[in-house]
């Protein structure tokens, strides 16, 4: 068994707003390749903060260790942030990461096909039928030439899933991918999504506020506790797993 794809130790993100501060602390977190991770919790508990750090789009306030191991290479994310190597982080995102947002995040001026091809195109990957196959699997093949504006919310989320998978990333991070869809469709989309990443042996990290949607999908749930100070001015969430 290869080493962990993510290796975090004492990673902290602090955010302070007027009279209120929030801290997310990850004492230790290891995620193995091919693992399926669920991050469950009410909104505001720091799920998105953790996801953004794992997607290299949010700089931790402090960390002892933050490593990313992929394709036999170890990347020191903590150091890249410290040295402001933004373009290096962008390159890692581009090559190894897929991200599904809460709502679409699709480019309105591109067709469904072009949106799904976006990552492939900046990587210079040739069209090998992947996008068409993904579209069929996601039930989008009739919508390929439409623009996102012509689709329903559920369909747009499926396009976002397609885009996150099209360039065969090592990890897919999904932040409440079904929050804006009705519960019935949400369950179905989540099921298709997990099935697809499983079939492709992609590591997946999903945040959701509703455990019951995904508990039957066999994900490892990260534990986290939120403590508030008595006057409510400080909240700290500790994630472990």
């Amino acid at each position: 068994m290869a080493g962990p794809i993510y290796e975090l130790k004492e990673v902290v993100k602090t955010r302070a707003g007027d009279g209120y501060s929030f801290r997310l602390r990850v004492p230790s977190l290891r995620i193995s390749p091919g693992e399926k991770i669920a991050l469950i919790g009410e909104s505001g508990c720091g799920k998105s903060t953790l996801l953004d750090m794992l997607a290299f789009v949010l700089q931790p306030s402090g960390c002892e260790r933050f490593r990313f191991n992929v394709e036999g290479k170890e990347h020191d994310i903590a150091r890249a942030w410290k040295r402001r190597r933004q373009n290096r982080l962008a390159a890692l995102r581009r090559r190894h990461l897929g991200y599904v947002m809460q709502t679409g995040g699709l480019l309105p001026y591109l067709t469904v096909r072009e949106n799904m091809e976006l990552s492939r195109r900046i990587l210079g990957m040739k069209d090998d039928g992947t996008v068409a196959a993904l579209a069929r699997e996601l039930g989008l093949h009739r919508h390929l030439e439409k623009r996102p504006g012509e689709l329903s919310t559920g369909e747009r989320q499926r396009v976002a899933i397609g885009r996150a998978l099209a360039h065969r990333p090592s990890i897919v991070i999904a932040d409440e991918p079904t929050a804006s869809v009705d519960p019935f469709a949400a369950e179905r989309i989540m099921a298709i999504f997990i099935e697809m990443v499983e079939a492709r042996n992609i590591t997946v990290i999903v945040a959701s506020h509703a455990w019951r949607h995904i508990k039957q999908l066999g994900l490892r749930r990260l534990a986290h506790h939120t403590r508030r100070s008595r006057d409510g001015s400080l909240a700290e969430t500790v994630v472990s797993g």
Partner: protein, 403 residues
């Protein structure tokens, strides 16, 4: 890889620009509304002043420098003048009273008393490329003289002149050939252009001196002094300098320098006014486009952060507003050119009755269009750079969630 990124960014920026065509059309219209009138204004300035300068340039009379009254100049002095860089043409003049000739032709019953003007090759009053009068037999007529005598190039004339010699009235006849006709614009009066040699012969005859080549008797010739000269500066811009040079030598001259200076001063003043307006217009346009692009970055924060998320680099994102503003510059310029063309056509049509066939009140040269495009693109890039830097600072995590 760099090229691919750049190409993808260019493609996406273009798609966005055309997808949001309503907003893009507004940008283009805003630009054309500033640039179009500016081009019309410049076209008018260039056309009006250009026409005036062309008139100055084309009219040799504007380059003429004439001595006031009569002086005494020798041939060597005149030849030295001819060698000056800023002098296009100079010939000596004989006494005005001697420089006349009565001329008749076989075709017309009229006898004209013509002013005789010394001429030579390169005379600005003669049509370019036409032969200049040479020797004692060839002449060029002014247009009005040729019309009255009903002759044209190649026809013969008969000149005659009278003197009192030894108490008797003596008349000689002088057969002449017309080698050319000067245009009516170049010279309006009845006149006959003849070589300096023929001018000297006429003066010698009237002064009672012999002209052996024509068989005219008289006293032997003496060393000659001329009373004046016909001088043309190389260009209208040399007139003032030459005038100064003559005045320094104590020769009072009359020139059109004042007219020329008036037009040049007007050109400078109008140019200054125009550039002030153009500068204000361009700065205003840059500011308004810059503000719109700046606001655009806010509006598109989410889309830009999506691009950052899928791995576009900071440097790629800067191009987004830049490419879009260049589109605005290009289309706005094209529309402004169309506006200008329509306006110029209308203005020139309206004023056509007051103008010569080739004249245009509103006119631009091809390079003016290119300068307009260059300035517009420059102003647009300037406007976009700030927005671009701002776009590059969009954090990928900023726009991921709707607040």
């Amino acid at each position: 890889m760099l090229l691919r990124h750049w190409r993808e960014t260019l493609g996406l920026a273009s798609r966005d620009y055309f997808h949001e065509w309503q907003i893009s059309v507004c940008f283009v219209l805003a630009l054309a509304a500033v640039l179009g009138p500016m081009m019309v204004l410049f076209g008018l300035k260039f056309g009006i002043v250009g026409t005036m300068i062309d008139e100055l340039r084309e009219d040799p009379a504007k380059r003429e420098i004439r001595p006031v009254g009569s002086g005494r100049y020798d041939r060597a002095w005149i030849d030295a003048l001819a060698k000056r860089e800023d002098v296009a043409f100079v010939v000596p003049r004989v006494r005005a009273i001697a420089a006349t000739l009565e001329v008749g032709s076989a075709r017309s019953p009229r006898i004209l008393s013509l002013e005789v003007i010394p001429s030579a090759a390169g005379d600005p009053l003669l049509p370019p490329g036409a032969p200049a009068p040479r020797g004692l037999r060839q002449v060029v007529l002014s247009a009005s003289a040729a019309r009255k005598l009903q002759v044209s190039a190649g026809d013969g004339l008969e000149g005659s002149l009278v003197r009192r010699f030894h108490g008797h009235k003596e008349r000689v006849r002088l057969p002449l050939t017309v080698v050319g006709v000067a245009s009516a614009r170049a010279f309006g009066r009845d006149a006959l252009f003849a070589s300096v040699q023929l001018n000297e012969a006429l003066e010698d005859f009237r002064d009672g001196r012999a002209v052996p080549q024509l068989g005219w008797r008289g006293t032997p010739p003496q060393s000659r002094r001329y009373t004046g000269f016909r001088l043309y500066a190389r260009s209208i811009y040399d007139v003032a300098g030459l005038e100064e040079a003559f005045e320094r030598r104590g020769i009072e001259v009359r020139t059109q320098a004042a007219d020329i200076e008036t037009v040049r001063r007007m050109d400078r003043t109008l140019s200054a006014i125009y550039w002030a307006i153009a500068l204000i217009g361009l700065v205003g346009f840059s500011l308004s486009l810059g503000a719109s692009l700046w606001a655009n970055v806010d509006r598109k924060r989410r889309e830009l952060s999506v691009l950052r998320l899928v791995g576009f680099r900071t440097g790629d994102i800067v191009w987004f507003p830049l490419v879009q503003s260049l589109y605005t510059a290009l289309f706005g310029w094209a529309l402004a050119v169309a506006i200008y063309r329509a306006a110029a056509w209308g203005i020139n049509l309206m004023l056509a009755p007051q103008l010569d066939a080739a004249q245009q009140v509103c006119r631009l040269l091809p390079q003016h269009y290119l300068v307009a495009l260059g300035l517009t693109a420059g102003a647009s890039v300037l406007a976009a750079v700030l927005a671009g830097l701002r776009a590059a600072r969009v954090e990928p995590s900023e726009g991921l969630r709707e607040v």
